[in-house]
Structure formats: structure tokens, C-alpha cells
Amino acid sequence: MADGVKPRVKVPKSASAGEAITLKTLISHPMESGQRKDGDGNVIPRSIINRFTCEFNGESVIDVTMEPAISTNPYFEFEATVPEAGEFKFTWYDDDGSVYEETKAIAIG
């Protein structure tokens, strides 16, 4: 598990049924690209978050396959439709096998 990995997501508290909302997600992660070398000249191995998904009540909103060119502290902004009240689930998958999750509820109103 990479150290100090912390997600931060922006989800409105409520929306009208069927409304399109904008979601913003950030997560702290070094996204070590595998291109850098350490002081002794050895390549620092790649260690990145390689996939990000967002689901709402179990249905997919977006599924992103990530390569090392995504910046440190990956950021995504995208739009989702909210058909009913429920929960957004955000998942980040790390090269080292760790999985980071964040959930946010949204009401209709």
C-alpha cells in the first residue's frame, strides 16, 4: 500500500432526478512513472494507480485505464446522470494490488 494515499471527491449533496452533475476526484499518489532514476542511477520501478472507476448504485459511470503519463495526485472531472437517490462509489486500483475506495451519497430534491 502506498503511503498516505487520500482521496478527495466533489459530489453535490442533491440533484433532480435525471439531472447531469459534474464530479471531481483527486487522490494523493506519487504515480511513480518508472522513468526516474535514484541517486545511484538505478531505475525507480513503476508504481502507479492504473485504473479508476466510478459507479452509481452499481452501474458504471466511467472506467479509466491509467498510464504513467497521468500526473502525480491524479485528477479526473466527468459528468454523471443521477436517475434516483443513491450512492456513488469511486475506486482506484494500485499497481501494488491496493484498492482505494470512497463513497458519497446523493439525495434527490
Partner: protein, 284 residues
């Protein structure tokens, strides 16, 4: 270019669009989260002796995309580290089994603190930066290990304290017992260092708005510190930045936390008196 119609908006866009070519600071307004207006330009305080007429936040010297990153707390990567700072704020540590929250309550109750630091501490008989004061609390009131200067936990905490003071004007005291450190900082600011013989003023007072290679020079204000730099994708403290700047003149640089940098931080902060606390800001 052929124009069919030129609305006032299009005309404005045409004038403001090539900002990088124009040099100088732009005219945008910084409003964070659509409700927190930050004063990013102010009349220079008297103690600048007319060297600057107007003090301008570094925000104005960055491109539109970078500026936009600071305008929403969910676009601003520095805020992930403020979140980590909140966790640290609430964590019980040390022999006294307290957290920062035990004495200080919510972080919001610390509003106004960042705006007046660095400041003279009567009991300790020295000018203290915010990080020095944090470590004093940690060692003497929490019985916890002090944090390494300008690294990780200390920077996260400084960013948290800055974030709750956003929108409040910087107002560091330069007189009375702080005057000696202030004078030392002022002397450093105008001293040419290194093989390149550059002083802070060479770039930040005489050439702000111009380009040094591809970098757009700002006035070097620190009201936005700690700042999230795109270059290293993390929060940077003022001492870390001073160290880098002096190293870049090809000089032997000073250490974060050293008396020299404490004095310099006091002086540079005072140059920005009147600008609002902006940290954690987003810069190049």
C-alpha cells in the same frame, strides 16, 4: 483576421487571451469556490520605501489553467494535503495524550493566525515561524516529537492553518522586538548571492512581469504559501523555496528553519502586508 461582429466580450477575450506574450500581471479576479474573494493586489505598505507601488499575488503571473486550479477546492491538489493536515490535527500524539484539537478546538478557530506569522514570541525571545510554534506546542505541550522543518507533516499543517485564514489580509509586525530580524531579512533580500550575483530584488522587484527563460517572474510574495507546485506536484514551504532560489544563483544556500530564513520569511511576508492569505495556492 476578419470579424463579422465583435461583441464586447469577444474584444475583451482578444485582449486578455495572449497573456503570456503581454508580460505583467493580468486583470483576473480570484474567487475561490465561487464565494471567497481573495485580495490579490494591494497598495504597497510604507516600509517598502516606494520600491513597489502595488503588491501583487503570484496568482496573477500564472496561466489561466493554473489560476483555475486554485479557484475550486476540489481542483486544488494542495487541498488533499490540507485533508491530511486535518487528520493530523485530530490525531492524539505524545506523552500528554493530546491532539491539536484538544486545546485548539476546530481548525477554523485558528483563523487569523497564519496572517500574522512570522512573529515575535516574548517568552522564547525570538521571532517564530508558524512551523517553529507548532513544534514548540508539540514538544512542550503534547510531549511529542517535533516535525522536520518544511517536510510532510509540518507542511500539511501549515497548509491547513493557511486555508482557514484565506481571505484575511497578511499583517506581520515589523517593529518592536521583531525589528532586528526584519532588518536582517531586508538586508538579505537586497544582497546579491552566488556566481550569478542575483539578489531577490534583481528578479522579483526589478523584473517582475518579465521572463527569465520561460518562467514568468512574479513579485515573489509568499501570501500563497505553502504552495502546490506543478513542477514537483507537492506542497512547498517558503524556506524550501528560498533555499532553491539561492541555490539557483549558484550560491551555498541556507537551511530551512535557519535564523537567516526565519528573518527572510519575516521580511518577505511583510512585503505582502495587505494581500490576503491565499494558501495553499497553486503555482508553477
Amino acid at each position: 483576421m476578419i470579424f463579422r461582429t465583435m461583441t464586447a466580450a469577444a474584444a475583451m477575450l482578444a485582449l486578455t487571451a495572449p497573456m503570456l506574450a503581454a508580460g505583467g500581471a493580468d486583470d483576473d479576479t480570484l474567487i475561490i469556490n465561487e464565494d471567497l474573494e481573495i485580495t490579490t493586489k494591494a497598495a504597497a505598505a510604507p516600509h517598502l520605501d516606494g520600491h513597489l507601488d502595488e503588491v501583487i499575488s503570484g496568482w496573477h503571473f500564472r496561466d489561466d489553467d493554473t489560476q483555475a486550479m486554485e479557484m475550486d477546492d476540489f481542483d486544488n491538489p494542495g487541498m488533499i494535503f490540507v485533508d491530511q493536515g486535518i487528520d493530523q490535527w485530530n490525531a492524539v500524539e505524545g506523552s500528554e495524550e493530546k491532539s491539536c484539537a484538544s486545546c485548539h478546538g476546530d481548525p477554523e478557530e485558528m483563523a487569523g493566525v497564519k496572517a500574522v506569522y512570522p512573529k515575535w514570541n516574548e517568552e522564547a525571545g525570538e521571532v517564530r515561524t508558524l512551523q517553529m510554534q507548532m513544534n514548540d506546542c508539540r514538544e512542550n505541550r503534547m510531549g511529542a516529537e517535533p516535525w522536520k522543518y518544511d517536510a510532510g507533516a509540518a507542511i500539511n499543517m501549515e497548509a491547513l492553518l493557511a486555508s482557514v485564514s484565506r481571505g484575511m489580509p497578511v499583517n506581520v509586525a515589523i517593529d518592536g522586538p521583531a525589528a532586528e530580524a526584519w532588518e536582517m531579512g531586508k538586508e538579505m533580500y537586497y544582497t546579491r548571492y552566488g556566481l550569478l550575483e542575483l539578489s531577490c530584488a534583481s528578479c522579483h522587484e526589478q523584473n517582475y512581469g518579465n521572463y527569465i527563460r520561460a518562467d514568468h517572474l512574479s513579485q515573489g510574495q509568499i501570501n500563497g504559501f505553502p504552495t502546490y507546485r506543478l513542477k514537483n506536484a507537492k506542497l512547498n514551504g517558503a524556506h524550501g523555496r528560498f533555499k532553491g532560489c539561492i541555490r539557483d544563483t549558484r550560491a551555498e544556500t541556507f537551511s530551512p528553519g535557519s535564523p537567516e530564513f526565519v528573518a527572510l520569511e519575516l521580511y518577505v511576508a511583510s512585503r505582502g502586508n495587505g494581500l490576503d492569505v491565499e494558501g495553499p495556492s497553486v503555482r508553477n
